[in-house]
């Protein structure tokens, strides 16, 4: 299972000529050959693409987390008219694949001049309905007494949310953060449509420049793919438990 990833690493460390050798060699001749990465960064605006990805992902994650946990708290703990209807709409939205609305969304974003801007590329990622579900799930586990006690003490709802509900649902919060990071970082179709100049491309979109280029060294492609995966791979190593948890939570939505 890990072989394709290992193979990418090995290829990225090979001299371009080693790759075309027949018969094929498995291991690179020189393990400290980092020229591919140097070429990659000098010939393509990879650093800019990475920065764009970081900006877009950070914006997406922060705003999604904030709005999703607010809504999750309201759906789990507050009583107000029309809650059921609103929640039903959230469920309906979950069944709507983004590929289906990409054309009207593009026309809408284009008409307000958001193409090729960071808010435009963040697009529909500023919120996560799945995150609302997950946060609601966790918020429902908070005993009502805690919230009532805070109300008796005269706390406003937002203070209760911030000081009582959120600290008790940190695992849910982290789960949503991890999930959203993966989704936003790997998003492809939308940034592809939105970023019209090379400077505004995210790393996943920037990578596909390789696929349309007339001729690209395979070692460069491998190095590029590796660079695009690296941030999430590092996150995975340190937060494995949360990543898996987030996937199990994705399963719960069914």
């Amino acid at each position: 299972m890990l072989w394709p990833l290992l193979w990418t690493l090995l290829t990225a460390l090979k001299h371009p000529q080693e790759v075309n050798r027949i018969p094929m060699t498995w291991l690179p001749d020189n393990w400290l050959y980092f020229e591919n990465f140097k070429t990659l960064f000098s010939e393509y605006p990879i650093d800019r693409w990475l920065l764009n990805s970081v900006i877009v992902t950070t914006l997406s994650v922060i705003s999604s987390l904030f709005f999703a946990s607010l809504a999750g708290y309201a759906f789990a703990k507050l009583r107000f008219k029309g809650k059921e209807l609103l929640f039903l709409s959230v469920i309906a939205l979950l069944m709507m694949p983004p590929e289906i609305t990409v054309v009207p969304l593009y026309l809408m974003f284009n008409s307000v001049g958001l193409t090729n801007t960071y808010p435009g590329i963040v697009g529909s990622n500023w919120m996560t309905v799945l995150g609302v579900f997950i946060m609601r799930q966790f918020m429902e586990g908070i005993p009502d007494d805690y919230i009532d006690a805070a109300r008796v003490d005269g706390a406003r709802e937002f203070t209760i949310f911030l000081r009582v509900a959120l600290p008790l649902t940190i695992p849910g919060f982290v789960t949503v953060a991890v999930l959203k990071t993966i989704l936003a970082w790997n998003d492809f179709l939308w940034p592809l449509v939105m970023a019209s100049s090379q400077e505004m491309m995210t790393i996943t979109v920037g990578l596909q420049v390789f696929s349309t280029a007339f001729y690209v060294e395979h070692t460069l492609v491998a190095a590029g793919a590796l660079v695009s995966m690296l941030p999430l791979l590092i996150m995975f190593i340190f937060m494995q438990r949360w990543v898996m948890q987030s996937m199990v939570m994705v399963g719960i939505k069914g």
């Binding site: 299972m1 890990l2 394709p4 990833l5 990418t8 290829t11 075309n20 027949i22 094929m24 709005f67 607010l70 809504a71 708290y73 309201a74 507050l78 009583r79 107000f80 008219k81 809650k83 059921e84 609103l86 929640f87 709409s89 959230v90 939205l93 709507m96 694949p97 590929e99 289906i100 609305t101 990409v102 054309v103 009207p104 969304l105 593009y106 026309l107 809408m108 500023w126 919120m127 309905v129 609302v132 009532d148 109300r151 709802e157 993966i182 492809f188 449509v193 996943t204 990578l207 596909q208 696929s211 395979h218 995966m229 999430l232 791979l233 995975f236 898996m244 996937m247 199990v248 399963g251």
Partner: protein, 328 residues
């Protein structure tokens, strides 16, 4: 979920909204919410404020685009802007377009190839990695299966494209060294969809596996212990305990995988550019092409509606068939 009316017990001990006979009269309610006259109204006001971003999101990302798509698909819309009402013309054109029909068929073939493989291998992996099997180092292996899921499909497509390269790729090199005939893989019209399916299965396996493992862990050990005493074999245990109890997870994974594979875009777009000879053109690739290469927004909108109907129909069908057929 609790309903708004049921079990009302205003938290701080104050009485409910004025006029307890009709506590939720719309007008009183609105006035109450705006003035924040009681704790209950203040609570409701917070509820609206807290869910306002969600409401805005649903409207911008769901309702307006959905309506927009329908309007687009029945109007003659292109790069020059708004056109006339043309009714179902876009749909007729689309469904008689051999290219769209090909992408529809490709998408269905791709799904038929990918989903059963994903489910089968994920089930095998999950059975191996559940805690009952006590495989040494199982968490490490589990992580290995899971890792591809966090890698973007774009990177996956690049990595595998390179492994599938007919002349210098890894796979043909192995075939050659074993004395077997070389294959065309992504360059072969007959092999491109199976090749893409292999990439897809590799990338998606971890997700299904994690869901299955979670399902397996929730099966009480007593069931297995009891059946062992009755002399049931491992296969019988799987057939009569594990498999029926895993039904919810199976249904969920199959439905989600079918939706995901029907939406496939990244893999064929990056690894094969929809080719060779449109052999790997998918519906979403067709939508992307129509809208953003040729600016035929109406065609793209109609294709999106067709895809939506397809996804909806298959999801409903699967819910009925799958939940019923698996006997307990």
């Amino acid at each position: 979920m609790t309903t708004a009316n049921a079990g009302r017990n205003v938290s701080s001990g104050q009485s409910g909204p004025p006029g307890s006979k009709k506590p939720w009269g719309t007008r009183n309610y609105i006035v109450g919410v705006i003035t924040g006259s009681t704790t209950a109204y203040r609570e409701a006001r917070s509820g609206y404020l807290f869910t306002l971003p969600t409401l805005i999101y649903i409207i911008i990302i769901f309702f307006i685009p959905a309506a927009y798509t329908i309007v687009l698909s029945v109007r003659n819309w292109n790069i020059h802007g708004f056109g006339d009402f043309v009714g179902l013309q876009s749909y007729v054109e689309l469904l008689t377009d051999p290219l769209f029909r090909k992408s529809l068929v490709n998408t269905l073939i791709f799904t038929l190839l990918s989903v059963p493989m994903t489910v089968f291998f994920a089930l095998l992996a999950a059975l191996a990695f559940q805690s009952r099997t006590r495989l040494p180092g199982r968490n490490l292996f589990k992580a290995g299966y899971f890792l591809p899921l966090i890698v973007s499909l774009v990177a996956v497509a690049f990595v595998w494209k390179w492994m599938f390269n007919p002349s210098i790729g890894l796979l043909n090199n192995i075939l050659r060294s074993l004395g077997l005939p070389e294959q065309g893989f992504l360059n072969d019209t007959a092999q491109v969809l199976p090749s893409l399916s292999i990439m897809y299965v590799w990338a998606r396996l971890g997700f299904a596996m994690v869901i299955f493992v979670a399902g397996l862990e929730s099966v009480p050990n007593d069931y297995y212990d009891a059946s062992s005493i009755d002399g049931a074999s491992r296969w019988q245990q799987f057939r009569h305990i594990t498999f029926p109890l895993l039904n919810p997870q199976l249904v969920l994974v199959i439905i989600l995988e079918v939706i995901t594979s029907l939406r496939t875009f990244d893999l064929p777009y990056i690894a094969a550019q929809g080719g060779p000879a449109h052999a790997s053109r998918t519906v979403v690739l067709h939508i992307y092409d129509s809208a953003f290469q040729y600016f035929h927004m109406s065609t793209a909108a109609a294709a999106a509606i067709v895809l939506f109907v397809l996804i909806l129909a298959l999801t409903l069908l699967q819910r009925r068939v799958l939940s019923r057929q698996i006997e307990y």
